[in-house]
Symmetry: C2
Subunit: 230 residues, 2 copies
């Protein structure tokens, strides 16, 4: 049996749906590779076109500009991750176990998903770590947000916040803790590789240490026997 996983994306993210054509899929797969190699700043549609063997104008038929393409890729990642969270927490009753699984999904290295042939998920994961926040760190955030371009991120955040509330219905900051876990799952890995003195993970470069840190952080917040501070 051959399975295919296709994620429905917000239509405002693109001019022409890249999932619907060979060129479109090439744009996605090659842009992921190219952004990973050169970094988002040096990435241009011209280089991408040369890489694919098409023309600049060809890319512009799919995406307004490179920032929109980044948002598309990032949104795809969050949607895919939410799907994985759903699968991996399904049929688990203990919310703490759920949360631990989620943290591992966020911070640990990814294996390639064979059902999405044109996306290399492990490279994608590295892109999100290094470039992901650039999707929303712009003057256009609010406008883009009104177009629901960040819905997949917000959905994932809400989903994890629900698990957090299952762990402790009285916890006051489920969504902030959720976004903290998500962001730190990426930032701590980035720091570990590039600015290690901002972390306690030493030269081992092991994502499991980040997982441990985040589990400790989350569980300390949610399983408090101590009295409320004041």
């Amino acid at each position: 049996m051959e399975l295919h996983l296709q994620i429905k994306m917000n239509e405002k993210l693109f001019l022409r749906d890249p999932e619907q054509s060979e060129l479109g899929k090439k744009i996605i797969s090659h842009s992921i590779r190219l952004i990973h190699e050169t970094g988002f700043e040096s990435f241009t549609f011209k280089k991408l076109a040369e890489d694919i063997g098409t023309t600049e104008a060809g890319i512009y038929r799919y995406f307004e500009n490179k920032h929109r393409l980044l948002i598309y890729i990032v949104a795809w990642y969050w949607s895919w991750l939410e799907y994985r969270v759903t699968v991996h927490t399904n049929n688990i009753s203990d919310p703490i176990t759920k949360l631990k699984r989620v943290i591992r999904l966020l911070a640990a290295n990814v294996e390639d998903d064979i059902r999405t042939s044109h996306v290399e998920e492990n490279i994608l994961h590295q892109i999100i770590i290094a470039e992901g926040s650039k999707a929303y760190l712009t003057k256009k955030v609010s406008k883009d947000n009104k177009d629901h371009l960040f819905k997949p991120y917000k959905d994932l955040c809400a989903k994890i916040a629900d698990i957090i509330l299952e762990c402790n219905p009285k916890y006051e900051y489920p969504r902030s803790l959720s976004s903290t876990i998500i962001e730190m799952a990426h930032f701590q890995v980035f720091f570990m590789y590039n600015l290690p003195s901002l972390t306690d993970f030493g030269p081992a470069k092991d994502e499991e240490r980040v997982v441990s840190f985040l589990e400790d952080l989350a569980l300390n917040c949610l399983t408090k026997n101590r009295k409320a501070s004041r």
Copy 2:
């Protein structure tokens, strides 16, 4: 008595020291204003030159490119913040109180420091929130790190990590918790204003809520009466 606060910056950050001339100070103050207004992506040396009333080439004599200028500004901010942390935690014995003060310094709105006439600290604070991480989220991080361009950030992180260890000498992740607090002090404020559903701070837009969240986060991690998780 007139006080002046001058922060000694790493010489690799600039080609000519901007603190040493009127034009240099104008470059700093106007770039802060301009980046705040237009965002770092739209910010160019040409616009800056027009704003100041000099020429592009004039700016290039001080800074190699706009990314270096951003790193300079960000580094200045971290140095200034470390100085403030030192002042505000001086002569306080209780480490928990120290940590709370630090969190407030990080997340709360800033008042203008009259001793640095050419820097508007409140606007600077907003820039760091929105653009700060772009200083290191590049392909050149490791190279820039070798030039010690991020030393002020790492120093601040280490300083807060020390306070964390004072609170609980057995805590395993002082530096990661430190960088988490620093990053989240900014990101949660950014989210509160621009992507509020990633937070629990509602429409109030009050930095004090972020402070409360971070205090809760940190103190839960450091004052554990519960058993170690497994």
